[in-house]
Symmetry: C2
Subunit: 253 residues, 2 copies
DNA sequence: CCGGATTTGTGCGATAATGCAACAAATGCA
DNA sequence: TGCATTTGTTGCATTATCGCACAAATCCGG
């Protein structure tokens, strides 16, 4: 559909940008700060914030604004309305128990992966991942599996659209090296990542396809790095992951 | 602050109502359906949806709209910006491991509780709870602890504002009985709920206070119902919960 | 306590959104 | 099929919002 200016609502788009200005790094914002982050006029930002506050999405102490749990309703409505999490959760639970490791299913949103379901076994990562959590796609096994499923030009575009900040000493952060790795992931059908997201964390991921063979998500297991060679880790867990992926293919439309 | 009409942005408020029209029950909406749910004019709803689609919050297949993971960013930005989850998570993990049961921390949002952190041990509930998940406050141990901390008039108002649908045969759904129960919770300092949320699920909750003694959240453990009397369940788990609550009080501002 | 700097609040004209009504296209139904 | 109803889209007068510029308030170092 062609985009018509007459069918756009500026106020809504601006308000959403203001909401997105609130992040973990900047949880409390004054009007000016929110205006600067969102790139909007102060007057407009102020009206957005007052509107949000009036409707319970923000709290205002006369100086700073903070978002309230009411905002969560916007996002979790989405998670709840997504059939994928509910469908995969039982498989995840069973898989996690079977292999004794945490497992997750994520989807791709731009250059980021979004966890939609998780079965935690023990804590491996420093940060607590949960449905809705985001990580950059380029350095995660889940992300690479889904990037590899895209047309190369599109993958390249996504990788170029964001700076590839190395997260550990092992993180691949060279575009060419990443594209080569994606090609490898594509041919071998899985991705193994060794401490590229976080020191001490390894993971193995496989694509999750729907009945038509389209990659709609990725499934992984994350485990603590050990002296064991990565190859034997893959040998241990890959078959289970692949089997669950095959089974999911039958139940996903 | 007085609410001035000139400082409100109708478009933003309308758009948010449209986003909230998407729920688990109604994940795919046509323009007319969204208009009816949100109570807005079809033309306005259409403009909202097209705007949302244009900015990646919605997908449109020419007939139906669905929200995209992009919307999650709105809510999880809030979760991530909340210090409470990060602070309580380590305590939750430790407590969960110690008592061998799932534990959760939730806050109150209107008449609902919102889970902000969770340490799952084994699956007890039929639905997968996660940070951001919501349940009615009146029938949960977490909710009752927080309702009991409110002024009685306010608690009564919240209880009256929503229909008290019994969820199981055990669910208290009489206002007077609930207010009596809240008084009991207030004096005894904890809430125990036996299969009022879901058949086969019990839980015990205690308030979580900040350094100033204000109840800011609630902490609970959920376990499978057994033949064991509720009193002995409470005896088993309450002390651990109370100790964690005491320790949290020192670290919460 | 002062003066400059930054932030917040507010008229106002230009501009854009609103909601009604009308209409066409799609859908349901007998 | 043919009629009735719902749904998507458009035009338009009314009404509200935008962002600029300016006033008021607040902050802050000396």
């Amino acid at each position: 559909m062609n985009v018509k200016q007459s069918d756009m609502m500026g106020g809504l788009a601006k308000g959403l940008r203001v909401i997105e200005a609130f992040t973990a790094e900047t949880p409390r914002l004054s009007i000016s700060e929110a205006a600067e982050i969102s790139g909007l006029d102060r007057a407009t930002t102020r009206r957005c914030l007052l509107t949000l506050a009036e409707h319970g999405y923000c709290a205002y102490d006369g100086k700073f604004f903070t978002v309230t749990p009411r905002v969560l309703r916007l996002g979790t409505g989405c998670l709840a309305s997504m059939p994928l999490p509910r469908i995969v959760q039982p498989w995840l639970d069973q898989l996690s128990e079977h292999i004794g490791q945490s497992t997750s299913v994520a989807i791709l949103d731009g250059a980021e992966i979004v966890y939609v379901a998780r079965a935690a076994q023990r804590k491996v990562m420093s940060i607590a991942l949960m449905p809705g959590s985001r990580l950059p796609a380029y350095c995660t096994s889940l992300g690479r599996v889904m990037l590899a499923a895209l047309p190369e030009t599109q993958a390249l575009e996504l990788l170029n659209s964001h700076p590839l900040q190395p997260r550990t000493a092992h993180t691949l952060h060279d575009i060419d090296a990443l594209m080569t790795e994606l090609a490898r992931v594509r041919t071998q059908g899985y991705s193994a990542v060794d401490q590229e997201v976080e020191q001490g964390l390894r993971s193995v991921a496989v694509p999750v396809k729907n009945a038509r063979g389209i990659v709609v998500a990725a499934l992984n297991t994350g485990l603590a790095a050990s002296s064991e060679p990565m190859a034997s880790v893959i040998e241990t867990y890959l078959p289970s992951l692949q089997q669950v992926s095959r089974e999911l293919r039958g139940v996903l439309s």
